[in-house]
């Protein structure tokens, strides 16, 4: 079922890209096509798949010859095409805790229904969440595949980088031992160079999307960095990020706003709602641009192709959701200021002990910095629980409040 879905997507997107006229936006379509092709490879039953935690070093795994992916991709994809509810029900019937994260519950449902291809290996990461770690272990148990666990330290100092880098070396040894696939230094260098090229384009994208009004169209950068992380180390990653950079550069140069009539700008915290909901169209209708998603900007320095393991480790540790909250709070306040937003939207994904668990502290930090926060109590995957009327009313009230504050802020500026 999932394979057919991706195959149809690939065919449709290839046709739309072929038909695109000059100057027509193609970055999002290129992104969607590469994501669909990734899905097709994952679910083809032919590629050597590694199901992973969300922080796994996907470019390193590409270099070893794997088709790696984080399990949350399954939940997001299935939610995106409306297929999550029956899988959530199945997972719950098998004992999955209904208060747990639905990205994970959907993946469990997909395993129970045989939708998930059996991987060669399973690689867990202890961050960003303990729920994710438990689910990846469960995948390894159910599918009877070898499991490797990367302990992502709580701190970011040099010793933590070294500890994580050593584990990445261990991972390469483990992969060689259990699958016979080994890492060729030349191949690793090529992969890291591709990663750095994509990173460079991502930094440019960060710079360009700071323009007011934003040159990015409302859905351009939804799930961007999360999916691009799966393309790092490949030409596809360079292609996608390059397409975005070029398109945004053109739009910024032409002063062509992504959202006509941008009135207000917001920071979107953590994940987007993955199923079709009225939230984004409503924001658009109200003239609110999502100027930046918390997880999109680049937080890591370039990786040294001659000695990449510390760089991979630094990248993992730089994720805002790793370690103590102080790092994340700095990050979101810096984004709010840098992207000149009026406020922030936090879809407090039900079941996320990591993200929603920090709701009160994130809210406080942003408010203290002068940015009101709308905390939406939603589930980003489970559309069964979505209360449209309530969400709509809260968004409208929030936008009204932001609009009233706007003149004062402009005066301050």
């Amino acid at each position: 079922m999932i394979r057919d879905h991706f195959a149809e997507l690939v065919t449709g997107l290839e046709a739309r890209l072929a038909d695109a006229g000059p100057g027509e936006p193609v970055a999002r379509k290129t992104f969607a096509l590469e994501a669909a092709q990734l899905g097709l490879r994952l679910f083809s039953g032919e590629a050597p798949v590694a199901w992973c935690g969300v922080l796994a070093p996907f470019d390193l795994l590409h270099a070893v010859g794997f088709e790696p992916c984080f399990v949350e991709f399954v939940g997001a994809t299935l939610a995106g095409n409306g297929a999550a509810p029956p899988l959530l029900q199945l997972a719950e019937a098998e004992g999955a805790d209904p208060t747990s994260c639905s990205f994970h519950r959907t993946a469990l449902g997909a395993v129970a229904s045989g939708l998930i291809p059996t991987p060669e290996v399973v690689i867990a990461t202890s961050a960003p969440c303990t729920g994710g770690l438990a689910v990846v272990e469960e995948l390894a148990r159910r599918l009877r595949r070898p499991l490797f666990v990367l302990n992502v330290p709580h701190s970011r100092h040099q010793a933590a980088v070294e500890y994580l880098a050593e584990q990445l070396h261990d991972l390469v040894g483990f992969l060689a031992e259990v699958t016979g696939r080994s890492l060729h230094p030349g191949r690793l260098r090529e992969v890291v160079e591709l990663t750095n090229r994509a990173r460079h384009a991502m930094v440019e994208i960060d710079r360009l999307t700071r323009h007011v009004p934003s040159p990015a169209r409302p859905r351009d950068l939804v799930n961007f960095a999360l999916v691009v992380s799966l393309l790092l180390g490949r030409e596809a990653g360079v292609r996608v990020t390059g397409a975005y950079r070029d398109e945004l550069e053109r739009r910024a140069r032409d002063r062509s706003p992504g959202l006509q009539g941008e009135r207000l700008r917001v920071l979107w915290l953590q994940n987007r709602i993955q199923f079709r909901s009225p939230v984004e169209p409503l924001l658009e209708e109200l003239g609110v641009a999502v100027a930046v998603d918390e997880l999109n900007p680049v937080t890591w320095p370039p990786i040294d192709p001659e000695d990449p393991f510390p760089g991979f480790a630094r990248r993992m540790l730089s994720t805002p959701l790793v370690g103590g909250l102080a790092h994340r709070l700095d990050h979101v306040v810096r984004l709010a200021r840098g992207y000149r937003v009026d406020g922030a939207v936090n879809p407090c994904h039900w079941g996320c002990r990591q993200g929603s668990g920090a709701r009160g502290l994130v809210d406080r930090a942003l408010r203290e910095a002068g940015f009101p926060v709308l905390n939406l109590e939603v589930d980003c995957v489970d559309q069964r629980t979505f209360a449209e009327g309530q969400v709509r009313t809260r968004i409208e009230a929030f936008v009204e409040m932001l609009a009233e504050r706007r003149p004062a802020r402009e005066l301050e500026a």
Partner: protein, 359 residues
Amino acid sequence: MTAGSPPLVGFTCRHTPLAMLHAAGMTPFRLLPLTQAPDRAGAWLHDNLCPHVKRVLDRALDGDLPPLAGVVLMASCDAMRRLADAWGTARPDDRVAVLDLPMVDNPRSVAWLTAELERFRTELERWTGRTVTDAAIRSAAADLATLATRLDELAAAAAAGTLPGGWGALQAARNLTVTAPLDESGRHLQQLAGSITRGKDPDCPASLPVLLVGNLLPDPTALSLLEACGARPLADDLCTGARQLVAVTLDDVPDGQVTLRLAEALLAPPHCARTLCPGEPGRWARELATRARASNAAGVIAHVAKFCDPYLARLPALRLELREAGLPLLVLEGDCTSGSVGQHRTRIEAFVEMLAEGT
């Protein structure tokens, strides 16, 4: 605490290096989620977060704690990390140490935890102005091992029905050993050991043997309720129970190796659900099922705090393993209030009735 008593240091997790705290001249004080404090943690921590950490924060916010010289929190799971964040913000004047706790037990994890413990030792020395020597850690570990051994004997007596007050009395003693100075705990355990009866305590109700597993069940009345409902734990595998204080022997460990050995011990079995064995996914559930079978328990009762991902995510595997072993499982989710266990009375009684019919 009396005047002149060692200063108290709050902690929340059984993986905390208690011997190091004692060696620093401090008394570890487990921040048990037992309180009548109003729910104020909700302003900081989301509704769907572990009630253990929320009740602990409620205590802190409500002043329902003795004066603490500091707090040490293990970064063991998302909820504990969030508690550390919230504590630092809600009580900015408190000293808070956060120690990383690897998810797997292997040599690299041990080395990392050793470094964390060394960092913590330095921090403790800063807090107290005194040197924390290996000899002092060895000595404290020996004292704690004595307490742990005595608690094991008391647990055996509770299981056999020869401890007056049964599991409730045992739990009260367990709570004391993680909140009081060593000598006070030692005296109490000695006194309790002296009360063990030769034959079965006549007040001990007729009951069916069960294995009690899960994370937190620190309320002595909850344990007494289990017994009153006709369930007699043969043993337990709880964070606030048998796993809370585990004997660590450092006597023969030379200077310079003590922290390493302590790290090994903290990561060694008995494991809670959060500690994985990559070579054997699902080991936690398998081991518990094996243990339940070996103990001749008629069934297993799991008490798990709501929203606890490490446990809740592994319960389906435990259920499967126990089904294969022919052992029924009762899962009780608690919110760390005495009310939640009271609400479970009917379910426990029904479970015991079902077990009785099967025996």
